[in-house]
């Protein structure tokens, strides 16, 4: 034990020192640029790239996390999953590709964790061909290690991908079996226990679409949510979230936007279920790089404006 402590202690110190040094280096660099900006000197694009690289790399190398509090849009979805009785049917649609995955995969994993912990029956499917591969990430990182007692077909089922975009939704809104006669492992629909008492999307208790592209949440709202009157929620990339506010809170009961949304959901999950304290929380971890990157971008906006006003004043004088 003593040996372990003596090994860990210097590592912790190294992390702290590394973090402080990185932050100081970034701050010093920004101050230098700020002083230059007062003279009206423009900043080269490559310097901006360098700062963004440092702002993202430093918190990844020397991680630091912030405590998050769920905003009402996130809390609404968390409370919905929480309020459903065990055995409720929740559909998770993986409508994203690897490009979006860093932002939305943490949400998908958190939803899975929450639903399986509550004892809900989870149905997985995807409108993106790449969604099936992304589900395997959840399978490997969450279901297999954290819920080894959950059985495929009994507690959850993966229907996989079907081509046709909104066409797929247009069929499953009235009949699942017509579109998915088997699951992804070719098990017939009738022999899958999860589907007992489920004929269509109308029989589901909650649908969560994770993604941000097309087909995605808009199609789920238009073709399923409105028609079948099923509660729908979503977790999307930050860039898409503003477009979905018109649907909240009537057509979308909850909305997670980007890493911040994922971090809020993860923090709420850990707060309510201490069992997940040691589970991976990529959303919370990525808030460090995101926060620092945002601060750097804001600094550059300020610097850019100082340069602009300095140059304009000079032009007027001359």
């Amino acid at each position: 034990m003593t040996v372990h402590n003596s090994l860990i202690l210097p590592l912790v110190t190294f992390h702290d020192v590394g973090m402080v040094v990185s932050l100081l280096a970034i701050a010093a660099g920004l101050i230098w640029l700020f002083i230059r900006s007062l003279k009206g000197m423009e900043v080269d694009r490559r310097i901006i790239f360098l700062f963004i690289f440092a702002a993202v790399a430093a918190p990844l190398l020397f991680p630091f996390t912030f405590s998050e509090k769920a905003t009402p849009v996130v809390k609404a979805l968390f409370n919905k999953v929480e309020s459903l009785p065990p055995g409720s049917h929740v559909l998770l649609s993986y409508d994203f590709d690897p490009a979006m995955a860093p932002e939305v995969q943490p949400m998908a994993n958190a939803f899975t964790r929450h639903c399986l912990e509550k004892g809900h029956k989870v149905i997985y499917m995807c409108l993106f061909a790449t969604g099936q591969g992304q589900f395997e990430e959840t399978m490997r990182d969450v279901i297999a290690p954290e819920f080894p007692d959950k059985v495929d077909g009994v507690d959850y089922v993966n229907l996989g991908y079907k081509a046709g975009n909104e066409g797929v939704l247009n069929v499953i809104v009235t009949d699942f079996e017509k579109m998915f006669p088997t699951d992804v492992n070719t098990v017939p629909y009738d022999s899958i226990e999860v589907f007992k008492g489920i004929k269509s999307c109308k029989d589901l208790d909650l649908i969560i679409s994770i993604g941000g592209g097309r087909p995605g949440i808009k199609e789920w709202v238009l073709f399923v949510g409105d028609q079948a009157d099923v509660p729908i929620a979503t977790g999307v990339a930050a860039v898409v979230a503003p477009q979905l506010y018109p649907y909240y809170p009537k057509q979308l009961l909850g909305l997670l936007g980007g890493i911040k949304g994922a971090a809020e959901y993860e923090s709420e999950l850990v707060r309510n279920y201490p069992r997940f304290k040691d589970s991976p929380t990529p959303g919370l971890k990525m808030m460090g790089p995101q926060t620092l990157a945002h601060m750097v971008i804001m600094s550059f906006i300020v610097i850019g404006n100082i340069i602009f006003f300095t140059q304009r004043r000079r032009e007027r004088k001359s």
Binding site: A99, P102, G133, F135, E136, V184, M287
Partner: protein, 225 residues
């Protein structure tokens, strides 16, 4: 005749699908048509794959600029196709999922496609930073409003926003930066997005009617209509 038949099919199917939404007994018909659509959609993959090969083989044969990359594309395409079709390394039998853990397809997907895709998307961060430095300048009143809104949203998406305004009492919570960011999203952003959505909706209705009634014929390759 070459024009009349496609026009009739469009009119017939379009009208039928609209009716199937409003007349419950016809619901099944609409579903079946959608299934036909889904089956046709699968063939788009064959077309997509064929087109990819055609473009790259052409580039290769004519030794156009950067033709070397086409070799990588074609090899990658066939390699992944083989890994998926023949389920190489799949832990289960031929009926098991193509993405089953341990299969060659999923291994390549996880270790190559996922990092490459994420990297491409992450590069955007650099350009966003550079663009905000150049574009977000208070040149006039409109730009200043945009700048202030962007600043609040950016700050509101970080824990610093909370830290900076945590001292504001709950009775004035709207002035807290995260709440201010939500207010901007829920009011100004919402109004703008809703207007765009309604506009798009009306546009879709009008375009659908034009197609069904045969007024819009550009899909037939006829520009004169």
């Amino acid at each position: 005749m070459k024009r009349q038949v496609p026009l009739f099919i469009t009119f017939f199917v379009g009208t039928l699908l609209i009716l199937s939404v409003f007349i419950p007994p016809m619901e099944n018909l609409g579903e079946n048509f959608t299934l036909f659509f889904d089956i046709i959609a699968v063939f788009a993959f064959f077309l997509g794959g064929g087109n990819l090969l055609r473009v790259h083989f052409k580039k290769l044969s004519k030794k156009k600029r950067d033709w070397q990359y086409s070799i990588v594309t074609i090899c990658g395409f066939f390699f992944m196709l083989a890994a998926g079709l023949f389920k190489i390394g799949n832990p289960g039998d031929i009926a098991s999922s193509v993405t089953a853990e341990g299969s060659l397809f999923q291994t390549i997907y996880t270790n190559m496609f996922v990092p490459l895709g994420s990297t491409m998307y992450a590069l955007l961060g650099f350009f966003v930073a550079s663009a905000s430095y150049r574009a977000f300048r208070a040149k006039n009143r409109e730009a200043t409003i945009l700048l202030i809104a962007a600043f609040i949203i950016l700050l509101g998406r970080t824990p610093f926003g909370t830290m900076l305004t945590v001292w504001i009492p709950d009775s004035m919570s709207i002035a807290q930066i995260p709440n201010l960011a939500i207010w901007i999203m829920n009011s100004f952003n919402l109004a703008g997005q809703r207007a765009i959505l309604i506009g798009i909706g009306l546009g879709v209705v009008s375009m659908s009617l034009r197609l069904i009634l045969g007024v819009e014929r550009t899909y037939l390759g006829d520009d004169s209509a």
